[in-house]
């Protein structure tokens, strides 16, 4: 049996999502299969696959996202604080107090302060996911937004949401299974988020979703909430 057949047996869901992704070209899928065949068991197979997926991000078609369009983004609160402490070389206390300060400000004041205080820091590492419905930032409560975006809703999870505008040099792409490797169980091809079961009656449809290279916080256009 080939290594790829073994992989398909052990990781059926992941393999099928990649095989069935219409945004990936046959050549991409062929490269993926060849990569798995080349696995020499010196590392974990999932890490071997992850390495391939990380090297083959943004393979989906480029979308026409105007630089005046506001995209929405959801971010785990703990990860956000980790971003601040890492990027700003500040203490955890300082990061928590900074976030508390921002959330007390009016929307416009907050955007100015975020630009002032961490404008040069990136919002993520290598890849970012954003959704194309900025009205949801104003209309949908945080908990419902997390559900509609299909984010993990464990009780100890808190998400922050904000709006951003892509700089002209940053292209947006339709997500592929390679982009979604770490969360294929919560992802479907076609460029829409998959709402969690708990809210599918209220929100049968997800939001259109894009992937792009991380942008800096000076691209923030709608306040963090």
């Amino acid at each position: 049996m080939s290594q790829y057949a073994d992989f398909k047996d052990s990781y059926a869901l992941q393999a099928s999502k990649i095989e069935d992704d219409p945004q990936l070209m046959d050549a991409d899928k062929e490269l993926f299969r060849a990569h798995i065949e080349a696995w020499n068991a010196s590392s974990d197979i999932t890490q071997h696959v992850a390495d391939f997926c990380h090297e083959n991000q943004l393979r989906g078609p480029r979308l026409n996202v105007n630089h005046t369009e506001t995209l929405g983004h959801g971010h785990d609160k703990r990860e956000f604080l980790l971003l601040l402490t890492t990027g700003g070389a500040m203490t955890k206390d300082a990061a928590e107090e900074l976030l508390r300060y921002w959330t007390l400000l009016d929307d416009d004041e907050q955007v100015v302060e975020v630009h002032n205080q961490i404008g040069q820091q990136f919002m993520g590492q290598y890849l970012m996911w954003s959704f194309r419905d900025s009205t949801a930032l104003a209309d949908v409560p945080n908990a419902n937004l997390a559900c509609r975006l299909g984010l993990d809703e464990a009780p100890d999870k808190t998400y922050l949401f904000w709006g951003l505008r892509l700089p002209t040099a940053t292209g947006a792409h339709l997500p592929t299974a390679f982009d979604a490797w770490e969360h294929l169980d919560r992802w479907a091809p076609g460029g829409h988020t998959v709402p969690n079961e708990q809210c599918r009656d209220r929100y049968p449809d997800g939001f259109p979703e894009v992937v792009h290279r991380p942008v800096r916080f000076d691209s923030l256009s709608v306040s963090i909430r």
């Binding site: 785990d76 402490t85 203490t91 205080q117 996911w129």
Partner: protein, 255 residues
């Protein structure tokens, strides 16, 4: 999981952190393992295994990789693992010479409640020179507020730090230091160029309801000149004390 499994898991997360793309909501390997640890009962045997594993990871960490140490100390702080002693050991037994790593461990230690003495802060010459903002943050957290803020005035004058660098620390410093921060902020506003740089500082104070810092400081009679005079007085007193001790042994002078 047993101690050794945790050692492997923690090291894997730290190795993966710099090369793994963020997840859909910014998830990272360090964030994920931090979350796993926070879900474990702090009184359980497993938490003991985690503490022991983390101590081993700290002791065996590369001595020349600042990113590793930043991620490791973040993991410790965000997972609320009691690792102050092991970090302190690594710091004080002089195993780490790289100034950036020393600055990272210092920040973690003050976050864990450690306070550096003025002598210890003074000894960190390279940290102070190369990472002045981080050194200042440690000095402020250690209670050396006047000398730290006074030092920031000098750094602003020379351009070694910018108002943007300072502004992200203002909410914490204002909450903890209140009027002391205002005194120095009034001086910083005099030092920095008008318009953009000054506006970065001013917007914070406007937002917390202090539209005119200088006026507020003057109204309260807490000018920087008064503070500077006090620092000079303290300095004079210390040199008098040294001279007195030189002449009279360790006996304190009686007023």
């Amino acid at each position: 999981m047993a101690r050794n499994d945790w050692i492997v898991a923690i090291r894997s997360a730290l190795e993966a952190q710099p090369v793994t793309p963020s997840g859909r909501a910014g998830e990272t390997p360090v964030g994920n393992i931090t979350e796993r640890i926070t879900r474990i009962d702090p009184t359980s045997a497993e938490m003991l295994a985690i503490c022991s594993a983390l101590a081993e990871v700290v002791r065996s960490s590369p001595k020349d990789n600042p990113r590793w140490w930043r991620d490791l100390t973040n993991l410790i702080l965000f997972a609320n693992v009691p690792a102050k002693d092991v970090l302190s050991d690594v710091f004080y037994t002089d195993q780490i010479h790289e100034p950036e790593i020393r600055s990272i461990i210092m920040l973690a230690l003050v976050n864990l409640g450690h306070r550096f003495t003025p002598r210890e802060l003074g000894n960190e010459i390279e940290v102070k020179r190369l990472y002045p903002l981080q050194w200042t943050e440690c000095a402020v957290a250690s209670g050396e507020v006047d000398s730290a803020f006074h030092g920031l005035s000098g750094l602003l004058r020379t351009g070694a730090v910018t108002t943007r660098d300072i502004s992200s620390r203002l909410p914490l410093w204002y909450r903890k230091q209140g009027d002391t921060l205002l005194r120095y902020a009034s001086e910083w506003l005099e030092i920095v160029p008008p318009y953009e740089d000054r506006d970065v500082l001013l917007s914070f104070f406007r937002n917390i309801g202090i539209p005119n810092v200088k006026q507020r400081v003057e109204d309260a009679g807490m000018t920087v000149e008064a503070t500077t005079q006090r620092i000079e007085r303290d300095r004079d007193f210390l040199s008098d004390l040294k001279e007195h001790r030189r002449l009279n042994g360790n006996e304190f002078p009686v007023a």
